[in-house]
């Protein structure tokens, strides 16, 4: 493991002060965690506001207008409200499980960002297992949802939790296979290597005909399902399950699930931008601006889906994943492997 960019600079500054190595290590760990947390909390707050404004635009409403300029600090006000709320635990709930579920969900959502490159040199640690690490950490979200479903001791919550587990597990497979077809070309799991292999626009993996666009579409569909958004928002289907796994949660614990959901949406968009859209690469503007532009572009696509589509049924969802998406993803992987091997379009 190594530190990169600004994190490396901070690390060197700490070493220069001459304090013992143990403290340097610990302080740099905590500092990078705090920086990432701060940036992401801001992004999450912004995303909540943006989603509300976008949905308002799609529905010919105004959305929040009163708190701040065009309701910009509405989310802050909502967060403060949620913190003040009473934290209710149902009497018959499995208390420790109920307590830990939102925390695990929240932490897992943030832990991914250890290896997400926000820009050239703006990465906490360029793990050589980069993308694999991200995929591994996201599985904790599933466990937290199952814990929430179980711990609430509520039938709707249980159904919601089980649905989400079944859904995320089934969509993880085509998603990983779609990611793999890019990995085959890069020859490395490191996020920085992935970005650096697409320096020019025709090298972006979305433009590598014919496997790139297919992998991208599979990735976007699977990512929508992974983040439990419409048309795959079954775990939270209001009309069927009232609210799903988070039905018994209130106050800060609910806010944690809520924010984690938006962070997860940003995560999959960031991965999509990194894998298929060239990450931070782009002319003129600073690298982090390009990264944010691409990521927010994908976030917009997810929001667009949400305010346009109805919801699928749970068995249709499973069928779509296993009978259509997965075979397609495998065929695409073989195609990508063949393209790499034969050197076709291998620029």
């Amino acid at each position: 493991m190594e530190l990169i960019g600004i994190f490396k600079y901070l690390y060197e500054q700490l070493v220069a002060t001459g304090i013992p190595q143990v403290w340097v290590d610990l302080i740099s760990l905590v500092a990078s965690a705090v920086i990432i947390f701060g940036v992401l909390a801001l992004i999450a707050l912004f995303l909540v506001w943006w989603e509300r404004k976008l949905s308002a635009d799609f529905q010919q409403r105004m959305g929040p207008m009163l708190t701040g300029w065009h309701g910009l600090i509405q989310t802050v006000a909502d967060a403060i409200k949620l913190i003040q709320k009473e934290d209710i635990t149902p009497t018959k709930a499995d208390r420790p499980v109920f307590f830990w579920a939102p925390i695990i969900c929240f932490v897992a959502a943030f832990a991914v960002y250890v290896t997400v490159p926000f820009g050239e040199g703006l990465i906490v640690s360029d793990l050589n297992i980069g993308i694999l690490y991200i995929v591994a950490i996201t599985t904790f979200t599933v466990i937290s949802l199952l814990m929430a479903g179980w711990g609430s001791n509520n039938k709707y919550a249980l159904l919601g939790g089980m649905r989400s587990a079944a859904q995320v597990v089934s969509y993880e497979v085509p998603m990983i296979v779609a990611i793999l077809s890019v990995i085959v070309f890069v020859g490395s799991l490191s996020m920085v290597d992935i970005v650096e292999s697409q320096a020019l626009i025709y090298q972006w993996y979305i433009f590598r005909m014919p496997f790139g666009p297919i992998a991208f579409v599979i990735f976007i569909i699977a990512a929508t399902a992974e983040t439990n958004r419409t048309p795959f928002d079954l775990p939270e289907a209001e009309q069927e399950l009232v609210a799903g796994f988070n039905i018994e949660y209130s106050g800060m614990k609910f806010a944690m699930f809520f924010l984690a959901e938006f962070i997860n949406m940003f995560t999959v968009s960031a991965i999509g931008a990194t894998l298929f859209l060239g990450g931070w690469q782009g002319p003129f503007l600073p690298s982090w601006v390009w990264f944010l532009v691409k990521t927010f572009g994908l976030v917009f696509v997810f929001m667009w889906f949400r305010w346009t589509y109805p919801r699928l049924r749970v068995d249709q969802l499973m069928e779509f994943s296993w009978k259509f998406l997965l075979p397609l993803a495998f065929a695409n992987l073989i195609l990508a492997g063949w393209m790499k091997y034969s050197g076709w379009f291998n620029w």
Binding site: S55, F58, Q59, Q60, R61, K155, Y156, L159, T230, P231, D233, L234, A237, E238, Q239, E240, V242, W307, T308, Y309, P310, R311, L312, R313, V314, D315, Q316
Partner: protein
Amino acid sequence: MTEGLRTEEFQVNMGPHHPSTHGVCRFILTMDGEVIVRAEPVIGYLHRSLEKICENRTYAQCIPVMDRFEYCTSMCCNEVFALAVEKLAGIEVPEYAEYLRVIMMELNRIASHMIWYGTTALDLGAITPFLYSFREREDILDMFEMTCGQRLTYNYIRIGGVSKDIPPEFIPKCKEFLATIDHKIDDYERMLTENPIFMVRNKGVGTLSPEMAIAYGVSGPSLRASGIKYDLRRDDPYSIYNRFKFDIPVCHNGDCYDRYIIRIKEMRESAKIVRQALEQLPNAEVNTGKMVKANFKPAKGEVYSRIENSRGEMGVYIQSTGDTKKPLRVKMRGGSYNQLQVMPELVKGVKIADVVAIMASLDIIMPEVDR
């Protein structure tokens, strides 16, 4: 070996406080995983004893009570009661008033179908269509408000006519509405009709065979979606419906998708009727009819009147003794009641998500069931 792998059945209580039960309907669902084994509707959460209340009021006082019978289409509720009493007492309604009644009822039908369109989309997880359809419904409610001062419970169609004439700004507003409505319905269709997710959720789901529909007394759009061309506006014309040209849309599969198509088409047909009514509206004499007084006593006898409501056949049976100002017996019939009864048959073996879709497509609302 496989015998040991049976999963356990469990019960889920859906409603009365559930976001998609259209009022306060309650289902006790016995489920095997996500599949419904049995469904048992529990009704009565919205019971207000309307029939008994009517029996303790004079005939004129019953009209506002009828408003609450099926509050999505209060105009039609007013009409069905007024029609019954007019039949019983042999009251003639002036032509002008009849036209106003038809305009109001058809506008109300469109508004009711708009509620259905929005909530159906909502029940299937699409939120945006709801706000689109409620935007146009708002226009209709504005027209009602300028006419009778109310937006939901109108008390407009009275025994013997209508309560007052339309204001002068009504006709331009209505014409403007009719000019854009087809385009707006196109918008609605663009959002759902060809949407693959919407189609896969609705096609082949909750198929109601014509035999079963007749056996359960299902009426209205849900019956026509099963392939039976039966519409009281054509088959038992009341008011002046025989003067208008309109199609009765029929589909043949009887699934949720067909019930959707039927209602979308009906909105267009209703707009057609309103257009014709506005053209034919006699300008020469403005006669909104003579209201009955509080001491009005119809002759001894019994009467049943029925009209085509947006949710099926709506009927009122009145029995009068001839010597009191109050009806002896009032019985109401609402289409939703029969459609709720057929629900347990339709939901057997489907997923819990389909229960919501089927209920939305049958357009059940609870005040009409519980009365």
